[in-house]
Symmetry: C2
Subunit: 475 residues, 2 copies
């Protein structure tokens, strides 16, 4: 595939804009620069990833999406699908201009099929709206990420979003039973169904999940639900060293105990967050913390597991084990985890939020490397995240006194080294945020060229005009 | 893609055979007709699916597999990967002759990484050998199918095999964290890793899982393990009607109770199996049975769930609920389920074992349709299978007095109608056995042409010479 350049593509002329208004109605097409500015970026933490679209459209049906995509193919205009714009890798940024297809008006719950325990939803539905609605019926969408208040189902699917509950429940893809997809050439196809098992041909659904909108626009999804786990308890466990904390993970899991979350925080994260919150935990002693959550439908079972895990923690040398069974105390200990990013933003708002994933046993090897990198490049690198699945949000935090120029240079070099270390430990550069724009040059350097070629071959075969979210993941 | 015909391909000449011996050693290449006959068929229940290969090779390394595939590309010779040959859809049959690549000598457990709870295995390892080895360490490979005594990991991956435990544990794909794949052009690539989460580019691993050996030859897999659930209990529940039985499924699941298995048997299956086994259960009263298994690490938890489920069964009108907590009784009630196929083979060995999957709530609608089809085409159609995920092994059993000619005609027509009914109920023609040779003409009639084109586009892009298991799934 030739490198993508703006010159390959045609602009959205007034005539094209008129045609878009014909497809969607004039209220559903924006070309006014002031109004479309909001669609030029996502939540990726760097200004340079923004780029203005030429038009933003708000389809109400899959047929409208298909017509827009057909037009884009005919004219060779880039199309960028967009959910909530809450992504962390630039996937929804219209880097090459063209048309942003915002799914925000396709936000309905189409069906809640309680007999088969599935929900049929439009791609623009806010994840939390789905979660709340099904919870009222005693059901649970277990695949959602931590940003569920703002993100939408279509975006979760595009990124195969993970989150704090993945140890027990896995990631979004596990709950996607079916998809309605507008292909890159503008056909509408339904993949999968209300079916937990299906080997009737290739698993195209799983290929589309996590493809960051480069293989089509998901317009509808059939989501698997499970029983709502009303009972919940948490443990906050303090350890002397990261190694002691991480060594506990397989001990717990191999006993068949399956916590919802096993969250890890290193010393720098703990101290910064606890100070920021004025938290009275004896955090100064802790070289690492685990936050372990259990959930289920039967409080007695949770209680039994809680006791077992607490005992294992103590056997393995934990300094302290705090149990939180009431809502207030659960909130309090999750606050320490949730406020790490915020606490560092107070210190320095310029950051690079990373998303590396390694085999869980290798986490203790990462920590001293981060310390070394931090010193070398004069950045702080707190490390926290999902220990149960080895997914760490190591975050490069700019020294407030550092010039932006120096930061940009150091950031790239530091990330290159961090990713090389990750790769050497058998890891990958993104566990749940995706490649998008932010990581594609790094991916290219690290990935086996054969694997990259296999990806590109699929992209070329499905999107011969390269109009569907071009320039994401790879050029 | 042009229709596949033998004439597109070159034969395995003595010179090619010599070259194969150069790659693999002479002991690892068979061309003698008598010796290669065993590689002309699998377990698919019809003689017409057999076809002789021209050579069978037994590689010891991925490099050897890659060399064979490169040679096959150069000469344009079909390559058919083969695991245990226990498939039920003809996937391992060398329909167009050429070279069968048997993975049976690549059968080692390469690594058991207890810290990360993964096993690294060669594709030809017998599934049960893996299961036993990890069980000795208190670990569990949860993704295996019911044929685990004979099948191999590579075959499980090629078919994305399911089985009786899928309600709780899902199917094979969920436990495949990484693959070593020889691509259709003979490159070796590693996909995934010892990682539970990974969104660093397209999920090619999930695309390869279930692609029936048409997208390359899996030579190695990284398998996720969980804690071994030593405690186990079973319920056998008798109902008046299939509807009453099936209605119970969402009642159980939505309460957050997650049995390992929810197996369904219709009246015809029950009566035939119980008579065959001389079983004293009051089966004559039962219009349908559910066999519900619970497992876990904590016997007290199993006990609590068992009581809850038993109560739900009684509330919902079950005729009888039998509890089996000891090994003997568990065996006894599973025997009823396991011997259905055998019992019908005594009655008539000529059968077509089907694998339809529908939304679980639609199962009661299938049963009367099967009865009608049975009468119309003069076949018996017992229906049993995995109610928890809607996957039913409806089996067409030839009337012993029917001529083979009539059977062949009736079988095809009956299957056509059965698949149409399945499709109308939102189902698919294969839940866990695959399309292979057996169902490809049916798939072609039922699948959305757009979806089929997307599949073929991938196949063409990855396998330009169409040498990798050609003619399977689609032509």
């Amino acid at each position: 595939m030739a490198p993508v350049s703006d010159t390959q593509y045609a602009p959205v002329t007034p005539k094209i804009a008129e045609e878009l208004r014909g497809i969607l109605g004039s209220g559903n097409v924006l070309v006014d620069e002031e109004k479309i500015e909001a669609y030029s970026h996502d939540e990726t933490d760097a200004a340079e990833y923004g780029h203005m679209p030429e038009a933003v459209v708000f389809p109400l049906t899959a047929e409208q999406v298909a017509q827009v995509v057909k037009l884009a193919n005919r004219e060779r205009i880039p199309v960028t699908p967009r959910g909530a714009g809450s992504g962390l890798s630039g996937g929804a940024i219209p880097q090459l201009g063209g048309i942003v297809v915002s799914l925000e008006k396709m936000n309905r719950l189409l069906e809640l099929d309680k007999e088969n325990m599935v929900a049929v939803v439009e791609a623009g539905m806010v994840t939390n709206d789905l979660a709340q609605t099904v919870q009222d019926e005693g059901l649970f969408f277990a695949g959602y990420p931590m940003s569920l208040q703002t993100c939408v189902i279509g975006g979760n699917i595009a990124e195969n979003a993970g989150g704090g509950k993945a140890v027990k429940y896995g990631v979004t893809g596990r709950y996607v039973l079916g998809l309605e997809l507008v292909t890159p050439t503008g056909d509408i196809v339904n993949l999968g169904g209300k079916l937990s098992k299906d080997v009737s041909g290739y698993d195209l659904k799983s290929l589309v999940v996590g493809s960051e909108g480069t293989l089509g626009i998901v317009t509808k999804a059939i989501i698997k639900l499970i029983g709502y786990p009303a009972a919940k308890s948490d443990l906050l466990v303090l350890f002397k060293t990261p190694k002691e904390a991480i060594d506990l993970v397989p001990v717990i899991l191999s006993k068949g105990l399956t916590p919802t979350s096993i969250e890890f925080m290193d010393q720098l994260s703990i101290i910064t967050s606890c100070r920021y919150l004025n938290e009275s935990l004896p955090y100064e002693k802790a070289g690492a913390m685990l936050l372990i959550e259990l959930d289920g439908t039967n409080p007695d079972q949770i209680e039994m597991d809680l006791i077992d895990i607490g005992r294992l923690c103590e056997e393995k040398g934990a300094i302290e084990v705090y149990v939180a069974e009431d809502r207030n105390n659960i909130e309090r200990i999750w606050n320490v985890r949730r406020n790490i990013a915020e606490a560092f933003k107070v210190f320095s708002p310029v950051q690079s939020l990373e998303d590396i994933v390694v085999p869980p046993s290798r986490i203790p090897e990462i920590i001293p490397e981060l310390e070394k990198l931090g010193k070398k490049y004069r950045v702080q690198i707190p490390c926290y995240g999902h220990a149960g699945d080895g997914n760490l949000h190591a975050t490069l935090v700019k020294d407030p006194d550092m010039s932006m120029e120096e930061w940009k240079k150091n950031e790239v070099q530091c990330l290159e080294e961090l990713y090389e270390i990750t790769e050497k430990l058998g890891g990958k550069i993104s566990g749940e945020h995706g490649i998008g724009l932010k990581r594609k040059t790094f991916l290219k350097e690290l990935i086996d060229p054969v694997e990259l070629d296999l990806m590109k071959a699929i992209k070329r075969a499905w999107d011969p005009n390269n109009i569907m979210n071009p320039g994401k993941i790879f050029d």
